[in-house]
């Protein structure tokens, strides 16, 4: 077999998902972000500090069974973002560009309600609503962050992206996103 360049040969396998609850059984990697991991991302830094001091609650988790981080392979995961507020701002993920910036990502929302916020480095911005059954296509070049606008339910998505994409969190720490999502008196506001 002509294995071109550096794409590893592996055997097929299956992973069990609970599509109702949005759970990946037997995930090998489990990434956990708590409130204290989110410093610098919310508008109300004091509210975040207070939250981190009051038990440092879970913010979001990523579950995956890893495959080679190479061109031709596909990374996939379950992303689970808890509901909650930092001041008036809805819980969200850090957000990232891909290291290989010209790579897309597909989010199939399985549970909950929220938004995918997206931006480009040259100033474009977009927001797409997420709810069960909505698939968001995050095209190449777009940084992306998910936001849970629900009162009680986690926002859960099944995600797929190219094996060689990688994650670039640093540029978002510097740039931020042009829009934020708030809950004010029961209304969800993007501004």
């Amino acid at each position: 077999m002509d294995i071109k360049e550096s794409t590893s040969f592996i055997d097929p396998f299956t992973v069990e998902l609970d599509i109702e609850q949005g759970v990946m059984r037997d995930a090998k990697n489990h990434i956990v972000r708590k409130a204290s991991d989110m410093r610098g991302h919310y508008k109300d830094a004091a509210a975040l500090d207070a939250l981190a001091d009051r038990g440092d609650p879970l913010h979001y988790e990523v579950f995956e069974v890893p495959v080679p981080e190479q061109y031709g392979h596909l990374q996939y995961c379950i992303s689970t973002l808890q509901p909650g507020l930092v001041g008036e701002e809805c819980f969200m993920t850090k957000g990232h560009y891909h290291t290989v910036i010209e790579t897309a990502e597909i989010y199939l929302c399985l549970r909950g309600e929220g938004y995918m916020l997206m931006k480009t480095s040259d100033g474009k911005a977009a927001a797409e609503k997420m709810s069960r059954g909505r698939m968001v296509y995050v095209p190449p070049y777009w940084a992306h962050r998910s936001v849970n606008t629900g009162a009680a339910e986690p926002l859960v998505s099944f995600c797929v992206y190219p094996g060689d994409a990688g994650h670039n969190y640093g540029d978002i720490e510097t740039e931020g996103f042009p829009k934020r999502v708030f809950s004010r008196g029961g209304e969800i506001v993007i501004e």
Copy 2:
């Protein structure tokens, strides 16, 4: 390869899926394969000819909203394979390698029961069971064909693969798959 030059910039969008029934709403492309399109693939060619003559029933459909067929983008679709038999052999898709052979594909089964049959050009073979919530990882280099073993329900999967993967059906028409799936007296047999 100068990948950056050739990955198109597009805006984000969403697609609505019915995760229970396995339906993509507002799909732009709809590929249809009937019995008569499957000549050469089943063991019992006479049974297939008879089926094609008796109304030429639907075999499988692919629903998609296209994105650029380029490195960095991700193709995705809903694949719907009807139940049925050609002689004793379960209805199946043609099967394909990717044109860029070192590209993977992810199948998340939403409905029905069946198998993903896989093979490599140097003689390896694999079969993974499909049912709601099972995700099959078809690695780079593996040709793949799905088979519906259910009595009445379609086998439906949400599929994602690299934008530049392409489809190579010709090699499967020549090589076939080393294993077939039969229903004999209510038993499913792979041989």
